[in-house]
């Protein structure tokens, strides 16, 4: 790997009109600067006249913070109105320390929102995939599972065994074959 | 934080109605103290006082210390009160509550500010060494009126206390152990006694020695500290329901008789203790 491509924050990378500023860079005045330590990369030109995207990929990942994207989190506690979760992975990069999020009753699924019962959707200890819909209040991010591919991805039955999804709102225990209710994520 | 236990509305009404009719739950008269018990020992300066269910322990100890610069020929007296969650479930340990501050301030005024103890007699070598007397007050059980109980405990413990005898030759100070020489008592000028009143119905009704439940429904309180010479040593009515002046004068009369009665009780307990030895 060419060490010449390693850049440090504040380093000038070129003129703003020549490139599109990708992640790890920013524009100030008419210049493009690096904002993290890492490798400078320029996207390959695919079409004629397309502006190249310049990115600096981080040499070391910053501890991730939630943004509007999909994430993985663990249910901590539930109330009739909401499920409190702790956000563990944001967009495939793990958070060093957990952030707190809330899935409100109306954000569990897309249809028949008024009939949602939290305890028939999530249980404490479930691992779920969700997405951030808002920065939320002072304490928590607001999350939603109102999409087919979002919902519980791993859960244990009362017996303590792992469960497999059998429909979008049911899971079955591998040991006792008991069926429990969950809002399941559609497997990829 | 644990919330303080509160009586129900029915209980409150019941107690209030009783007071209006001159009746109390424990069959006392409104101007009566509860049963007072004072026990001493086993060592000097330790007394345990019970006032109904309220129970307070006081322990006096002493050590030799350097005096304050502005009072070179006076001994020191330290009062220390600590409310532990044992008697006060709502108290957070470590941080003094507002109630604790008020109690310790009233005791300080009653015992230190009124000069109940002869501090000049505690001087060993001026500017160099004086006795420092420390009174530790522990609240063991709280059923109302801890101030009166604490004050009785503190003053009776001080009266019971004996400090080691000393001889001073020039700058040389010898402290004799209790086995070597008889320890000496503190010289006590007078015995301040606290009497606490509780007021109900905008000050219309007055009760002496309130229990915890009565304290919870009172609208105001007043603590008078007196001695047997009919001197008011301290008085504290920190806000609460406004009172007529006659009520206060009336209270002061009641307090004098109560102070006399309590002093006699303490004296009797001290005498009984002495005769035992």
């Amino acid at each position: 790997m060419n060490t010449k491509n390693i850049v440090t924050p504040g380093q000038r990378l070129g003129f703003a009109q020549d490139y599109v500023a990708g992640p790890g860079t920013y524009v100030r005045g008419n210049l493009l600067y690096a904002s993290v330590v890492g490798m400078k990369r320029v996207s390959k030109q695919t079409a004629e006249g397309e502006t190249l995207v310049l990115t600096v990929s981080r040499e070391k990942q910053q501890s991730a913070i939630p943004e509007v994207c999909s994430l993985v989190s663990k249910v901590i506690r539930i109330t009739p109105k909401e499920a409190v979760v702790s956000i563990m992975v944001v967009d495939n990069s793990p958070c060093k320390e957990d952030f707190q999020g809330i899935i409100r009753q109306q954000d569990v699924r897309a249809t028949e929102r008024d009939k949602v019962k939290i305890h028939e959707s999530f249980r404490p200890g479930d691992i779920i995939r969700a997405e951030v819909i808002s920065l939320g209040d002072a304490r928590s991010y607001y999350l939603s599972t109102a999409k087919n591919e979002l919902g519980v991805i791993y859960a244990q039955s009362i017996e303590g065994a792992a469960m497999i999804p059998i429909s979008w709102q049911e899971m079955q225990c591998t040991k006792t074959k008991a069926i429990e209710l969950r809002k399941c994520a559609k497997p990829f | 934080m644990v919330k303080e236990f509160e009586s129900s509305i029915n209980e409150k009404d019941f107690i209030l109605q009783g007071i209006k009719e001159g009746l109390r739950l424990d069959n006392r008269d409104i101007y009566d103290f509860r049963q007072l018990g004072i026990t001493f020992g086993p060592d000097y300066g330790r007394s345990e006082v019970t006032l109904g269910n309220t129970r307070v322990l006081a322990k006096v100890s002493c050590e030799v210390m350097r005096p304050y610069q502005d009072r070179p020929a006076e001994g020191m007296i330290t009062l220390s009160t600590e409310m532990s969650p044992m008697a006060f479930p709502s108290v957070e340990p470590g941080r003094p509550s507002e109630e604790e501050i008020l109690v310790s301030r009233i005791l300080e005024k009653a015992i230190k500010r009124s000069r109940a103890i002869d501090t000049e007699g505690l001087c060993i070598v001026a500017n160099e060494k004086v006795w420092s007397i420390r009174v530790d007050i522990h609240f063991l059980d709280h059923d109302g009126n801890i101030i009166d109980a604490a004050c009785i405990a503190a003053i009776s413990a001080l009266a019971h206390f004996r400090r080691p005898d000393i001889t001073v030759i020039g700058e040389e100070v010898t402290i004799h152990s209790i086995e070597q020489r008889n320890p000496v008592p503190l010289s006590i000028h007078h015995m301040p006694i606290c009497v606490t009143f509780a007021f109900f119905e905008n000050g219309e009704y007055v009760v002496v020695d309130p229990t915890l439940q009565e304290e919870q429904i009172r609208q105001g309180d007043m603590t008078m500290t007196l001695n047997i010479h009919k001197e008011i040593c301290a008085l504290s009515k920190a806000g609460g329901t406004p009172l007529k002046m006659e009520t206060i004068i009336n209270c002061s009369q009641i307090a004098t008789t109560k102070a006399k009665w309590i002093t006699e009780q303490i004296q009797a307990a001290l005498d009984a203790e002495k005769s035992k030895k």
């Binding site: - | 934080m1 507002e98 501050i101 008020l102 310790s104 301030r105 005024k109 500010r113 009124s114 000069r115 000050g203 609208q219 105001g220 007043m222 007196l226 001695n227 010479h229 009919k230 001197e231 008011i232 040593c233 301290a234 008085l235 504290s236 009515k237 920190a238 806000g239 609460g240 329901t241 406004p242 009172l243 007529k244 002046m245 206060i248 004068i249 002061s252 004098t256």
Partner: protein, 244 residues
């Protein structure tokens, strides 16, 4: 108390030239601060105090919320240069907390707190110079500031101290006098002559008690006239300003 100070001169005048039943020179003015909802400044002799009242406003912490009335919060601070010797006092000094608690309990039955459920009224007092009578000046300043803030209360609360020198009751003690004689502080509701606060230190014979208390109550009445005048003048000024 072996070396007793001469607190009364040969002509029967006190150390600062006052007669027995004379108050110290008193100055007061409401509305002195820009940020506070109500404020007041009071001088009683050499004791000077500023008061500010904020609220009724949202309670700062949930623990302070009372469901049926407003919570009153009192904070007192002493300027480091206010005493003879410079001393920085922490806010958790026992004596200061005691006074703060006394001021709080004095105003609780007087302010109509039931009109402002779940809210909070803050009373801040700053003592700039100290020459005896802390409790009384704190109460008088707070009364004026609360009135200035427009918070409804049942009556003025006026406080004054009295003592007893050589068996003679004296009014409004200064620092020298209060450290050498018994001191009784009384806070009075002037309209119905009821006493809300009564504090005493040092020894006083019970036979003198009533006399001293009546002396203090008389002082409270005098203070009431001064406070009332200040309030009325302030309102007149306000009317004058708004009519222009």
């Amino acid at each position: 108390m072996s070396s007793r100070l001469e607190l009364i001169g040969p002509q029967g005048l006190r150390t600062d030239g006052r007669r027995f039943n004379e108050l110290r020179n008193m100055n007061c003015k409401p509305s002195v601060l820009s940020q506070a909802d109500g404020s007041a400044y009071i001088e009683q002799g050499n004791t000077k105090c500023l008061a500010a009242v904020y609220g009724p406003r949202e309670a700062r912490t949930k623990a302070q919320v009372l469901h049926n009335r407003a919570n009153i919060n009192v904070e007192i601070s002493l300027a480091p240069f206010s005493m003879e010797e410079r001393k920085k006092r922490s806010k958790s000094d026992k004596r200061i907390l005691e006074i703060a608690s006394a001021v709080k309990q004095t105003f609780e039955p007087i302010i109509m707190t039931e009109l402002y459920a779940r809210s909070q009224i803050d009373i801040y007092l700053q003592i700039l110079q100290f020459d005896g009578g802390t409790v009384q000046i704190c109460i008088n300043a707070a009364t004026l500031a609360i009135i200035d803030a427009g918070i409804p209360m049942k009556d003025y609360v006026c406080a004054c101290s009295a003592g007893c020198i050589d068996d003679e009751p004296v009014l409004d003690l200064n620092h020298l006098e209060e450290s050498n004689t018994p001191e009784l502080t009384v806070a009075l509701l002037p309209k119905n002559d009821k006493i809300t606060l009564l504090q005493m230190e040092s020894r006083l014979h019970i036979d003198k008690f009533q006399q001293v208390m009546e002396m203090a109550a008389k002082g409270c009445k005098e203070i009431h006239t001064v406070l009332d005048k200040a309030v009325r003048e302030n309102i007149k000024d306000l009317l004058k300003k708004s009519s222009i």
